[in-house]
Assembly symmetry: C2
Homo-oligomer: 142 residues x 2
């Protein structure tokens, strides 16, 4: 439950935080601050965009969410905090999660073999950039 996640992270479970975190978790789209604000403002008219920004910063600092790398436009956020990969659709502007245990293992094994001096690796992510062939359809991986 969202409220418990906040409390577990040592944060006050305010109404705004609950609603924002819930929205990110439910969203499959890696929303931007604006997108979150837009999605919530009708239901919570007193919510302010500045609160959304600062709440997102708080969540990132407390490892409830992660920032997603972007080439331009607004920063986007991801409630999926374990290591995984992203597919960037250049024609739809979607950022889609892509998890594959075999691939993760392949990469982990590769870096275990390598001898890397003076770097403490925290995370490795694969960024797959491409175009949806049919913008309306989903991407399917078998």
């Amino acid at each position: 439950m969202v409220k418990e996640k906040l409390v577990d992270a040592g944060l006050k479970a305010t109404h705004q935080r609950i609603v924002i975190l819930d929205m990110i978790i439910c969203s499959k789209n890696h929303p931007s601050a604006e997108a979150i604000f837009d999605a919530l403002k009708d239901h919570y008219p007193s919510l302010s965009l500045a609160t959304v920004y600062s709440t997102l910063e708080t969540f990132v600092n407390n490892k409830l969410i992660n920032k997603v790398l972007v080439k331009d436009g607004a920063m986007r956020y991801d409630a999926h905090t374990d290591s995984h990969n992203h597919i960037y659709c250049t024609n739809t502007n979607e950022i889609i999660d892509f998890e594959d245990h075999e691939l993760q293992q392949l990469i982990t094994d590769f870096f275990l073999k390598k001898n890397i001096e003076n770097l403490d690796i925290k995370d490795i992510t694969l960024h797959i950039q491409g175009e949806k062939i049919n913008k309306r359809k989903q991407i399917k991986i078998n």
Copy 2:
């Protein structure tokens, strides 16, 4: 030679473009527009920051350079246009190129085996995030 690269790309070889492209190619640091401007303004006082920005856009559109994904702060640029990986140092804010043929092959092979529907993959990049243990020393990979 830089001038030829510009002409080959179908661009007029203006003084500003030559100097900017040369700076990015020589820089090992994936500079931002500001960093480029700061590095050049003493030698070329008439250069304007807006020109740097628009020149960078032109270069990206003509595939002379690439944008580098960033979590925050200003966009950064890379003159290294073939597919390669980046190491992000969270404590020094450096972005370091990392090329490894074996790794590239591993990943390429993996995606060849996979059956991905409705996505036309344009590029795959690995983003390695970590901290330099000794900020002054280089990262060495053997």
